[in-house]
């Protein structure tokens, strides 16, 4: 799913390259490793000339639009044929999803439906069937778009990613993964291999909502995910995450803390939503003004908490 977010188009403009409707693909060497060890040695060997892809649904549009260009031959390392990265596993209380699992498989996975339904809810509203059939959650995360719809549900689920390199495996909390639009802690020689999500508990509900200018196949103007746990009618844990309102998808800590320890009554929810909207400073871009983003963020947070409350009844 190409995301021509404002950050990227600004870069394009400042360079003032020729306007070309559709650009040529670069010269490529295509690699399709079957083992993690092969993958890691390829990534290591090719350094900056390597690019890891899974579904290619971001890579190709980025080249066609000129957002990405390459001066040298590119070593394209396709991880979609690695069986070990193509699995959804549940171990004890963690759902582990391989980086090259397609969005469609996530959407249709019984494990995801049971253990992280909020993720399926988000994936259903992403892109088109054709794109979901090839695009992956690993790719959605690595592109580090502020509008990545899988990220808010993962953030509220306290998910982490597994990054592998020649040194071994590293666990990085998703809250620590993004460093800016299109940027993350991932460095050359590293590959994001898995996404790990603590499974949903009994006293817990989560909800995802997004708003775009159109209903279907639309990049979010704002997306919101909420997860709450309740005991004795009082909110125990609250997680609230928003997409497209900051350089990266973000959690809004003040609003979360406000909710914790309180009953989920209408007044509390309204105040929490107000605080969430207050905490963000979105930008205006081609998809929306910052005013609308703040305004609608409040509504989405409110509705998501209400939906959680409804689910917990």
């Amino acid at each position: 799913m190409p995301d021509n977010s404002a950050g990227n188009s600004a870069i394009e403009n400042s360079v003032m390259r020729n306007f070309i409707g559709s650009r040529a693909m670069p010269d490529l060497v295509y690699h399709s490793p079957k083992e993690i060890s092969d993958l890691l040695s390829m990534v290591d060997a090719h350094g900056t000339s390597a690019r890891v892809v899974a579904g290619c649904t971001d890579f190709i549009p980025s080249v066609r639009t000129g957002r990405w260009s390459f001066d040298q031959e590119l070593n394209l390392i396709d991880i979609s044929k690695l069986p070990v990265l193509n699995q959804i596993e549940k171990t004890d209380d963690v759902l582990k999803i391989g980086a090259s699992v397609s969005l469609t498989r996530i959407l249709e996975s019984p494990e995801v439906k049971v253990h992280c339904p909020v993720l399926a809810q988000a994936v259903e509203q992403m892109a088109s069937l054709q794109v979901r059939n090839t695009a992956t959650m690993g790719g959605n995360i690595c592109m580090a778009s502020p509008a990545a719809d899988t990220v808010p549900p993962l953030l509220v689920s306290d998910a982490w990613v597994i990054i592998q390199d020649a040194q071994g495996e590293h666990k990085v909390l998703l809250t620590d993964f993004f460093t800016g639009p299109g940027r993350s802690v991932l460095t050359s020689g590293q590959v994001l291999t898995h996404i790990c999500i603590p499974v949903k508990k009994a006293n817990e509900a989560a909800w995802f909502q997004k708003i775009g200018t159109r209903t279907a196949v639309i990049i979010s103007v704002v997306s919101a995910a909420v997860r709450v746990t309740i005991s004795n009618g009082v909110c125990d844990t609250a997680r609230i995450a928003l997409g497209s309102v900051a350089p990266t998808p973000v959690r809004v800590a003040e609003a979360e803390q406000f909710l914790e320890g309180k009953p989920l009554d209408d007044q509390v929810i309204a105040e929490c939503a107000r605080m969430a909207a207050q905490a963000i400073s979105p930008i205006s871009d081609l998809r929306s003004s910052k005013e609308y983003r703040k305004d609608v963020a409040r509504t989405l947070v409110k509705r998501s908490i209400l939906a959680c409350r409804e689910a917990l009844k």
């Binding site: 799913m1 190409p2 559709s22 040529a24 693909m25 670069p26 010269d27 490529l28 060497v29 295509y30 399709s32 579904g55 290619c56 649904t57 190709i60 549009p61 066609r64 639009t65 394209l76 396709d78 979609s80 044929k81 469609t104 892109a127 088109s128 069937l129 054709q130 794109v131 059939n133 090839t134 279907a216 196949v217």
Partner: protein, 162 residues
């Protein structure tokens, strides 16, 4: 990087000489002669180049040809049997789910996979609309396309299908 690519194209084992930087769309049109796979946005937004890759609809413009090594690819040409239109195709002509015809082959492939997936469950308008959301059509307003899919499913349930 030139490479031989062997895959099932419309149920026939096919080997083509491709370049690693070619997309499946380019290869199907230029080397494979499958001109029903239409090129428009080249960015995965319009669905005009939809083909089935291992039975699932994908945008051929977003798939690297090199990655379909050993896979099976079905284009709308592959639905034609002995020169005869597939019942799905007949439904689109009967209901006039086709106007300019440019989005049609992609629409057909997505609908074909949908009807196959549905089995005996009757498709609702809502499911058809949601499934076809990535196939843009500017002529029909989608009304007759949805009708065509219903008609085609009826044909399938009546045993006229391949």
């Amino acid at each position: 990087m030139k490479m031989p690519l062997t895959f099932m194209l419309n149920n026939q084992q096919t080997t083509l000489e491709v370049d690693a930087r070619q997309t499946l769309l380019e290869v199907l049109r230029n080397q494979g002669g499958m001109t029903s796979v239409h090129r428009s946005c080249e960015e995965g937004e319009c669905g005009a180049c939809t083909v089935l890759l291992n039975d699932e609809p994908v945008n051929a413009c977003l798939v690297l040809a090199a990655s379909v090594q050993g896979a099976s690819v079905l284009t709308s040409e592959g639905l034609v049997k002995n020169g005869k239109p597939h019942p799905l195709m007949k439904a689109f002509t009967d209901e006039l789910g086709i106007q300019c015809g440019f989005c049609t082959p992609g629409m057909l492939m997505n609908a074909y996979a949908l009807i196959n997936r549905a089995g005996d469950n009757l498709l609702t308008d809502q499911v058809i609309r949601k499934t076809l959301e990535g196939n843009l059509c500017r002529c029909t307003g989608y009304v007759n396309i949805i009708k065509s899919v219903h008609t085609a499913q009826k044909a399938k349930l009546a045993g006229e299908w391949w």
